[in-house]
Symmetry: D2
């Protein structure tokens, strides 16, 4: 266990990167070692020592420390000079495919928020949408990658060189299903339906027809039906076959938050207590998951927090359940889960800086 760590963030201009910056800047272990923010900047900004963080995200500006932080021009030399030990990549997966092996080669541990290294199966990587070049380097890197969900892989994350931070939808669904599948309660032959809804920040910062206010507001739309690229994570992490699960994402007219409504059939009738126990046993050591007993979670409850919230309702015959799983897609679905991984990698309290 270390007292502190020097971190760096690439991709602070995006939504997840901004949340990550906010979390790292207020993390009690990192008070004296704020992260290095690096990325592409032009000559003029380089000449003035980088872009002040408050110009990029006015909501991050404060009247003392943060005001002095800058987004600097990225170089491996900068990272070496600043003694960076852990690198967060909040970058497109294409960039992470290239930079992660380089960082590992330089002895820097990486927490990659993209989908570049989450998937072990080539078929699932193909669904995700990138070519696997089949190189030795790529294979070696993939072998080192640990799926960054502490609730499932805490021990492996603690010693990992490369943590592949999970997708937002995937986090929401895996946390809801894994305990029930592991406890062998679900009749998989019957099929699982995952109807998920996400706020617009999940679609990224690029202005597109889809993210235009006029399309997103006062609307709801399903997309990527049967083809969403997070599907592979569900299959690999829960241990499901493609024909066992249908996953449909929807675009909600809200800035952030995911609610997944998940439909399962049990092999045998269950009681509320039995299902509650299955969840509680599974998450016994997990400070960032909340199980709901009396009400169902709603998106508001976990907004701006690092929690995943899970609740459920049984049919009167105890044979079917509707599980409701909520989280903030920029937090437990991205930035706070990355910090949670940092905590585990450094041997700190898993919830430090997150409550």
């Amino acid at each position: 266990m270390t007292v502190t760590a020097q971190t760096a963030v690439v991709g602070v201009t995006g939504y997840a990167g901004a949340e990550l910056a906010r979390l790292l800047l207020r993390h009690p272990r990192l008070k004296s070692t704020p992260p290095v923010f690096a990325g592409r900047i032009d000559e003029k900004d380089k000449a003035r020592g980088g872009i002040p963080l408050g110009e990029i995200h006015p909501e991050l500006a404060n009247n003392n420390g943060t005001a002095k932080l800058h987004l600097q021009l990225f170089s491996w030399e900068l990272l070496k000079e600043r003694g960076v030990e852990v690198l967060f990549l909040a970058t497109p997966h294409e960039q992470s495919r290239v930079w992660v092996p380089e960082a590992l080669g330089r002895g820097i541990r990486v927490i990659d928020l993209s989908g570049a290294w989450r998937l072990q199966e080539p078929a699932n990587r193909a669904i995700y949408g990138f070519e696997d070049d089949g190189s030795e380097s790529a294979r070696a890197t993939q072998t080192q990658a640990v799926y960054g969900m502490p609730e499932l892989h805490r021990e492996r994350i603690a010693v990992a060189r490369l943590v592949a931070n999970p997708g937002c939808y995937a986090t929401s669904i895996i946390l809801a299903l894994k305990p029930l599948v592991d406890a062998e309660l679900i009749d998989l032959g019957h099929g699982i339906v995952c109807d998920a809804k996400s706020g617009v920040s999940g679609a990224g910062k690029a202005p597109t027809a889809k993210t235009h206010f006029m399309h997103a507001a006062d609307n709801l739309s399903a997309y990527a039906v049967f083809t969403h690229r997070h599907t592979g994570e569900l299959l690999e992490q829960i241990g499901l076959k493609a024909e066992d699960v249908v996953f449909t994402p929807h675009l909600l007219p809200i800035p952030r938050g995911i609610l997944s409504t998940i439909y399962v059939k049990f092999s045998e009738a269950q009681t509320r207590e039995q299902i509650g126990k299955a969840y509680r046993d599974f998450f016994r050591r997990s400070p960032m998951v909340r199980i709901y007993d009396k009400v169902l979670p709603q998106i508001q409850y976990s907004l701006h927090s690092g929690y995943a919230d899970i609740g459920f309702q049984l049919s009167s015959d105890g044979r079917r359940a509707v599980v409701v799983s909520c989280l903030d897609n920029l937090m437990k679905g991205a930035a706070s889960q990355a910090v949670q991984n940092l905590n585990v990698m450094q041997g700190w309290g898993e919830a430090e800086g997150l409550e």
Copy 2:
């Protein structure tokens, strides 16, 4: 077939009632015979000849005709005096239980927008939440009631004395499933999942913790899981057993619109063309249903319109489908369906005043 009809509306102060007023006021057949608006008003308003419609709904005020319309004190005498032939009740179901038999006894045809007379099975009425007094009058009234979905019961509606206008969620789901069930394509044993999402107007005009902006905005919540009172309509109209279907409603942070995502498994693999044909055959004579081929419908497409929009996506093996069904809950889910029923009852074009 008649040239026009004298209508009356009770319940114009609510959201569905306001839409109904708007539709009837611009209906080409009713230009010269605007509806009588009646309800509870106090003495002071009675003394001034009723409440101007524009005071209740400023958006209904215009600079000529409408400005002169008033909400008058309800009495059966008023209806008789004005020669009302068709009465719309946009009232709570408790009130409709009492008024409908009275209206029928007076020879007035009724289109009831409440849930009072939609359900033939006592068990389903119990789920809806009202006591069936078992009286002869109630039984006789129920027998006359026709479920007011022209796409299913056009011929019976044409001659009905009492039309029970469907629920909003029910309309959205029944139109999506009935064609597939009737064509015997669905493997019912596998179960059908209906994940439905509705705008806040569906929760009614009463200010409650649930309809407070601070709860409804930037949020999504599931409610009435396994217990929603529209379930009975699904069972009776589609012909399903309770264990065959799970229906989960959600409260969307938008004023109006429903999107239902419906998951079915087919007995045999299907092609896109086969499913499209099943829908098109079923709705051949139905002007207010639109089948989508190239894209999935979204909530925005049917807002403020009388259409129900249906689209679907098949899994690659053709064994499963996700059906997306959208409508405006205040229009096809309430007021425009009521006008559609009026058109059918009067022998007018089914889409008159709705396009």
Copy 3:
């Protein structure tokens, strides 16, 4: 007065163009002569006879007529062939600068929704943001242009060859101020403050950082302070000097609607009745303006309607007033005002197709 008119619309892909299409398609005078929709389309779409309107705007698709309408490749030959008498241009002002003279030269009357021809003063055109080439053609065209606000210029519009349809903010403010300025009630030396707020559709269909849901939602921002390009319309139409008025637009987190809060000081104390009379006298012949007596208008009241709504509150000493002016920026602020102009140009009822 003519029975009908053959119209054409260029720019139906934008928000105002879509509203215009909707209005023209349901206009009682144009039932048998739907507008020609023309614009830039590619070879493939040309080959299939144009792009079905329902593909561009699914909410415009219906199950009969509209489904057959197409966006065709624009050419002057097409317009001639189809006998177009009135051309609506919902195009960028740069395009309108070029096309309007051409259309006029071909004997086609034009209603231009852009800012290309609204301003008589070169200085105001400069503020609007376009180079005045000073050509004879431009000068001649400008001379023919009538500012398309029937409440101010009804008689001139009736015989105009070119109607320059007003800006949305400008409409909202001019209608609120012109009656008070004309009645010489306002102490102009004291300055007039116009604090205006508009929904996002006013910012256009192009996806930008500003129109991204994440920026527009849960936010409010002022922009173009002291520099908004609609300022020139206020000055020319109301007859104000630049130093007499401050106009600040804000971006509201809603799809559509404008509310302008306008602060004036009177030369002498006024009563509620006096101000009400000033408005009522001015708008005596204007069916599309509603004056509010008992409450202030809100954005919701005029949404999706062709009305401008005006209300006001006086200070206790009668020396100052806050005027609240609301309209739907895509309707009275664009499309419905264009249709109102069409009605006036054709000698039809000014409100036809708008109530």
Copy 4:
């Protein structure tokens, strides 16, 4: 200066109370002494030791400390027993009128978030809407009250027994105007216009027609024109006469945040630097105010933060300015300002627990 303090909060069920709880629970000085939460609870809840905070506000529940906190039945004995030194009242002003003298009599310092003790002038209290009973006790209490805006009254707050926490609109406007008025830059005779817009949380938690989602969403409305109860705070704190200022509040369709657009005329032409200097000088010691140079603040920038953000734009002749002032009405407009006051009263860093 004290190391810590025992606090109590009455009114945790409301929006400001919930924010206050969140801030106090994460305040570094209060880690070991969480506040006592007290209020009205029924017998059943009393019997189980109070209502768990997580039942009232699920978003406040976490997996360790907070889960054990309860809302207990209020009594002065409870406060004494727990050694409460500072009492926060997030209660209706009627209740604060009664409880504040009682608390002061018991030697407890009070930070009152209501409007009960903000106003020194009886006339302004009358505008606020409460009867001044004229009692000796009320007069004595009022004399002790310090208006809780540290930027104006830091020294007096440090030693105050009773701090009257400012209104949200008032905070937004006073911070923007006070520096300019004190520097004698403004031509008061010309009048100041304050056009303010607030999110719905400002209207309180009670479900009303006004706070119903259907009214608040997709809308904007002005209210309390010339009569808003925060006006008195503006007059007393800035030192203005009623005829010098017009203040119009509007209800924004967002959960939280205030943006005030303020229009002033200067006695003499000013430069951007001069105005910037006036603000910077005034707020030299104020960590919770941010002055914007390059852009105007927007509501998003200060959401969920304790900052007030101020920016401005000058007319080209330097004679007029539009000042834009933003804050989160539940934070700097209520809860974080209360914590800021606590910090000042305790001699802690003014920004502790707020950045």
